[in-house]
Every structure is written in structure tokens, then in C-alpha cells.
């Protein structure tokens, strides 16, 4: 395992491809230098590398200058998560730069939705009810991030960000809507993310506020915020083997595990 000090990690590239809108960001010496969010849904495979080129150029750095690549390891769209990770690993092997995989859902709870462009703002998940408040909730309110995993399935995680430090209140996990009632979280928690909007009526009945879109959308700026705010996760050297956080088996595995009666 390679060790990295803050001094070494002066140029950090972040990639998030597991959400509806892929995003790329570069941080230079701790400051966000450039951000780009796709303005079309599900174009990560085509657009991620061109977006990386653009963001690096805007930040005035080259791939060879990178000291670290941060990538969202999920949960999220299985295919999207793989696109981000495969791109990061290719970049890593080509440049020698290590990769730091971080949780997409915890990153989505760091309150970095303000970097997202109008195309994303206008693309609130269809069918979701109107959020409780138009304005984003206060930055220090803990976020219960709920990502839609279709049907009554969710991915969830909860973080609190105070003075830049991120505390994990609920580790990322797969859940069902029915599981929400059993959560034991601080009263000031606000729910956010596409899954929160979809199941807002359930959350309201449970006494939870629902933050407006795109709070809770996994993004590259969120990954950088998480990296700054958490004790850093392992840094993976080029070519090393590590797995995404799918948090759910594949469909045939789920069907095989399903009780015969159902």
C-alpha cells in the first residue's frame, strides 16, 4: 500500500460515473480548480474521458501531474460505477498515479450540490413530489442519502459534515423502503437524493424533511469533499485489485436466492 501525505497529494482528479450525470473535478493544492458535470443523462462512457481532458486543461495540469485519482466506487448504476472505475484504473496504469476509491453515497451527503449546472437542476427525477423546501438545507444538517435502486429498493448512507470534517452516521447499505421506519438517526437529519424524492411521502410520514434536488446526487466535488473530510481510505497502486461497492448481487443471483414461495 502506498502512503500519501497531504503535501504529495497536490493535484487530485475526481471521477463520479455511477449517478445519472457523470462529473469530473480537479483539486490543486486543496482548492477546487475545475469542475465539469455532464449535461446529458447516461453519457458517461462516451463523455467521461473528454470531460477529463477539458477539466485538466481548465485547471492547467496534465495527467502526468496527478498525484492521486479519486473515484466513486458506488453504490449506483452498476454499469456507470464500472465505467468510472475502469477509466480510473486505465488512467492509473498509464500514468503510474494511485487510485483512492471512495463511497459515492457518502460523498453525495457532503452538501456539494451547488456546483451542479442547470441541466442537472432541471432534471429532477420524474414523478417525485415537490421537495419540502426550495432552498438547500443548512450545511451542518446530517444528510440521509437515499439513492433509487428501482422498485422499493434503495441504497442508503448518512453523514454529518461539520467544519469540513465528515462523520459517518450510517455506513452505506442496500435497503428496502420498509426499512426506513427502523432507522435510528438524529432528529435534524434531512433526507436527500433521487430515492428520497421518489419516496418523499414515506419519509414525511416518518417526520423527515426532504431536501430539494440535486442534493444527494453523487458527484466528483462530493468525492473531493469526502476525501478532505474523512480519514483517508486506502490508496491503491496501479494494477491493484479491489472491488466496487455494488451492495447488491446481480439479478440472476437475487433470483436464485429468492425463497421458492415468493
Amino acid at each position: 500500500m502506498m502512503a500519501a501525505s497531504d503535501q504529495e497529494a497536490s493535484v487530485v482528479l475526481a471521477l463520479e460515473a455511477g449517478s445519472e450525470f457523470g462529473s469530473v473535478a480537479v483539486e490543486v493544492d486543496g482548492e477546487l480548480a475545475a469542475v465539469l458535470v455532464a449535461n446529458e443523462r447516461r453519457r458517461q462512457a462516451a463523455d467521461l474521458v473528454p470531460m477529463i481532458r477539458t477539466v485538466l486543461a481548465r485547471a492547467g495540469v496534465r495527467v502526468q501531474d496527478l498525484s492521486e485519482i479519486v473515484v466513486g466506487k458506488g453504490p449506483g448504476s452498476f454499469t456507470g460505477v464500472r465505467i468510472g472505475i475502469a477509466t480510473a484504473r486505465g488512467l492509473s496504469m498509464g500514468s503510474g498515479c494511485p487510485v483512492r476509491p471512495l463511497s459515492s453515497i457518502l460523498a453525495a451527503g457532503t452538501g456539494t450540490g451547488t456546483h451542479l449546472p442547470n441541466a442537472v437542476l432541471q432534471a429532477m427525477p420524474a414523478g417525485g413530489p415537490t421537495p419540502d423546501k426550495v432552498e438547500a438545507p443548512a450545511p451542518d444538517r446530517p444528510r440521509l442519502v437515499l439513492l433509487d435502486a428501482r422498485g422499493n429498493r434503495l441504497w442508503m448512507g448518512c453523514v454529518a459534515t461539520r467544519a469540513g470534517r465528515v462523520e459517518v452516521l450510517l455506513e452505506p447499505r442496500a435497503a428496502l423502503v420498509e426499512d426506513l421506519a427502523a432507522l435510528d438517526l438524529p432528529e435534524e437529519v434531512v433526507a436527500c437524493g433521487g430515492g428520497a424524492l421518489r419516496h418523499a411521502d414515506v419519509l414525511r410520514r416518518l417526520g423527515l424533511d426532504v431536501a430539494p434536488w440535486p442534493e444527494g446526487l453523487p458527484s466528483a466535488p462530493g468525492l473531493l469533499a469526502l476525501r478532505r473530510g474523512l480519514p483517508k481510505g486506502p490508496l491503491q497502486p496501479p494494477g491493484s485489485r479491489w472491488s466496487p461497492d455494488y451492495l447488491r448481487p446481480s439479478q440472476p443471483e437475487r433470483e436464485a436466492l429468492r425463497p421458492e414461495a415468493s
Binding site: 462512457a45 462516451a46 463523455d47 467521461l48 474521458v49 473528454p50 477529463i52 481532458r53 495527467v63 452498476f78 454499469t79 464500472r82 465505467i83 468510472g84 472505475i85 475502469a86 477509466t87 480510473a88 484504473r89 486505465g90 488512467l91 492509473s92 496504469m93 498509464g94 500514468s95 498515479c97 496501479p238 494494477g239 491493484s240 485489485r241 472491488s243 466496487p244 455494488y246 446481480s250 439479478q251 440472476p252 443471483e253
Partner: protein
């Protein structure tokens, strides 16, 4: 760039493969990792295939580079399968290659998987170059092509329903053989009498005039149904177990008869001097032997070694070299296309662009 070094990457189905090719034929390394995750499911599960590719790709490429004694910084281009295939599986290879090419500042060349199969024999045999008729038989495709030159593929026939390899897999399931079924049917057929159960040879005679699109098409669904009916009869009679090898041999003989007959007809109407058999099913030794026997000594039979007949990255690198030299590089927004049309595909009659093979 007279003798470029290419890294080939193949992830279209259930093999994760990487190869280092220097020039046209110097395969400096070649790694093929066949996924065994699918055996229990009786067929390839796309999501599991994609997950397995992501787990494997770094290690496979690293080993290929190490065995070749090189690094990505010394690679001139990365050739990657962009389609057709399983989209989730393809996206792992394409995304990895795009990232690596950006970082290593090398060229990126998208390759059509079937064109890779056409180039597989020439990796090992310099004589395996056009003009030839190509019988391309795999788990997903069955095509008969007239190839006057690299990059021009004249479609003479295709399957109307199941691909040849698909038919082998389905018959394997009927006979309770494990996945992958093709090699299992071939193995079992060695113990059987191909004349004991004689199955129909669908569409053996051309139903159209030469020059009409699809006049050398093939079909395997009727043959498969005939095998299913026979298996049911034998099961009801309580004799299936002792007849399984004979059924396998009878099916294989019928399928090979259809394929080789079509290839002979294609050679006859085109006057092409050679037959090239390629794709995963071309690893079937009975197919190769029957084709060689019926072509006789006058018509050379071209095929790759068994290792280069299955899905592999060396053939992708070799096809990539062809396109690299022609300057056909990946656009910045390259993505995987599960239905990617074969570049240069036209109807044999010269009737214009052909439809995408099913």
C-alpha cells in the same frame, strides 16, 4: 511507425484478454482469462461477465505487459474491442482503454470483434490474407463473407435464426451437457455414430440465384427442433442415455454439412482461391477435418490455432494494426456498441450496404 507495438484488449463476452503485438505477427505476450462464473448458470450472465472483467482487467494487462517485458509508455497504440458483444462487458474494456490511452499518450483504435476473428489466422500464417471466402462461426454469429481485400467484406450468407455456436449450446442443454456446450458436444460426438440419427440439413440448396442478397443464408432452428424431438422420443423410450453420443454425432454432422456445403458454394460462385474458417466454432476439429476433406488439396484451408480461434486480444491487436496504419483512430467520444456494424460490410451482389448481422 513501421513496426508499431500494440496492446490489444478484448472483453466482449466471457474472456478477459490482453496481448502485446509487435508488427504484424510478433505476439510478445498473450493472456486469456476465461471466466468460470457462468458454468453454474448454464450460459453467460451479462452482469456477472461485466463484474468479472472489471476484477480481472488490470491483472490481465499487467501480466501481458510483464511477459512482453514492456510498459504502457512503450506502446504505440491500444486496440480495443468496441462491439458487438455484451454492452456491460464491452464498456469495461473500452473505458479502461480510453483512460490508459489518455494517460500513456498513445493512439486508441476501436476494433470490431468479428473483424478481429477475420484477422486471427494471419497472426500466425502470413498466407492467411485475402482474397478468400470466410466462414465466420461463433456463439453469436454465423457469416459467410467474400473478402477480396482487408476492409471489404461482401456478405454472402448469414444465419436466419440461431448462430452455429448457439445451436451447439442448445443441443448440449438438450443432452444435459454442461456449459460451454460446443466442446462438450464435440467430445461426446467422438463416441457416437453420425449415421445412426440422421438429422435434416436445412437450406442446404440455395433457394435464390447467386447475386441475390442472402442466397447462401443458413438456418439451424429446424435442426435444433429435430434434435429436441428425437431426444424426447428417446427419453420416452428409455434409451436416451445410450443414444446421447449418437445424437450428438448426428447433430454435429448435420451442422457441419450445412456450413461446409455453404462454404463450397461460396467458393464456387466467387472463384476465391482459399477458404478461411474462423470464430469460436472453428476450433471444432470435426469441422476443420470435414472442410479440408471436401476442399481437397487444391483449395487451401486457413484457420487459426485453437488459442486464436476463441475470443482473444491478439486478433484484436492485429485488426487494430490494420486500422492504425489506415489512420482510423477512435473518436474522443468512443463508446461500446453492442450492435456495432462490421466496417466495410456490403452485400456480395454489390447491392449496397448490408444490414447489421443479427
Amino acid at each position: 511507425m513501421s513496426d508499431p507495438v500494440l496492446l490489444g484488449i478484448e472483453t466482449s463476452c466471457d474472456e478477459t484478454s490482453a496481448a502485446i503485438l509487435a508488427g504484424e505477427r510478433h505476439v510478445r505476450s498473450h493472456v486469456i482469462l476465461s471466466q468460470d462464473e457462468h458454468t453454474v448458470w448454464g450460459g453467460v450472465v451479462p452482469e456477472l461477465a461485466a463484474r468479472a472483467h472489471l476484477e480481472a482487467i488490470d491483472g490481465v494487462v499487467a501480466r501481458a505487459l510483464e511477459e512482453a517485458g514492456t510498459s504502457l509508455s512503450e506502446v504505440d497504440a491500444i486496440a480495443v474491442t468496441a462491439g458487438p458483444g455484451l454492452v456491460g462487458a464491452l464498456l469495461v474494456g473500452v473505458s479502461w482503454a480510453k483512460g490508459a490511452a489518455l494517460a500513456a499518450e498513445c493512439e486508441l483504435v476501436p476494433v470490431h470483434h468479428l473483424e478481429g476473428h477475420l484477422f486471427a489466422p494471419v497472426v500466425e500464417d502470413p498466407e492467411a490474407r485475402p482474397p478468400f471466402v470466410a466462414l465466420l462461426v461463433s456463439g453469436g454469429h454465423t457469416l459467410l463473407l467474400n473478402v477480396p481485400e482487408w476492409g471489404r467484406y461482401e456478405l454472402m450468407g448469414r444465419t436466419r435464426d440461431d448462430a452455429a455456436g448457439e445451436a451447439f449450446d442448445k443441443v448440449a442443454r438438450l443432452l444435459d451437457l454442461p456449459y460451454p456446450g460446443g466442446p462438450q458436444v464435440e467430445r461426446l460426438a467422438l463416441e457416437g455414430d453420425p449415421e445412426r440419427h440422421r438429422f435434416p440439413r436445412p437450406m442446404l440448396r440455395p433457394r435464390r440465384d447467386p447475386g441475390e442478397p442472402g442466397f447462401l443464408d443458413v438456418s439451424f432452428s429446424g435442426l435444433k427442433t429435430a434434435v429436441a424431438t428425437r431426444v424426447d422420443e428417446l427419453r420416452q423410450a428409455g434409451t436416451l442415455e445410450e443414444e446421447r453420443a449418437h445424437v450428438a454425432a448426428g447433430f454435429q454432422a448435420a451442422a457441419i454439412d450445412v456450413l461446409v456445403s455453404r462454404a463450397e458454394q461460396a467458393l464456387e460462385v466467387t472463384g476465391a482461391p482459399k477458404l478461411l474458417v474462423t470464430g469460436g466454432v472453428s476450433a471444432n476439429r470435426a469441422l476443420r477435418e470435414e472442410a479440408r476433406r471436401r476442399l481437397g488439396p487444391e483449395v487451401p484451408l486457413l484457420h487459426a490455432s485453437i488459442r486464436l480461434s476463441v475470443d482473444n486480444a491478439a486478433m484484436i491487436a492485429r485488426a487494430g494494426l490494420f486500422h492504425l496504419r489506415a489512420g482510423r483512430l477512435a473518436p474522443p467520444d468512443l463508446t461500446a456498441d453492442p450492435n456495432l456494424p462490421l466496417p466495410g460490410l456490403v452485400e456480395w451482389s454489390g447491392a449496397g450496404p448490408a444490414k447489421v448481422p443479427s
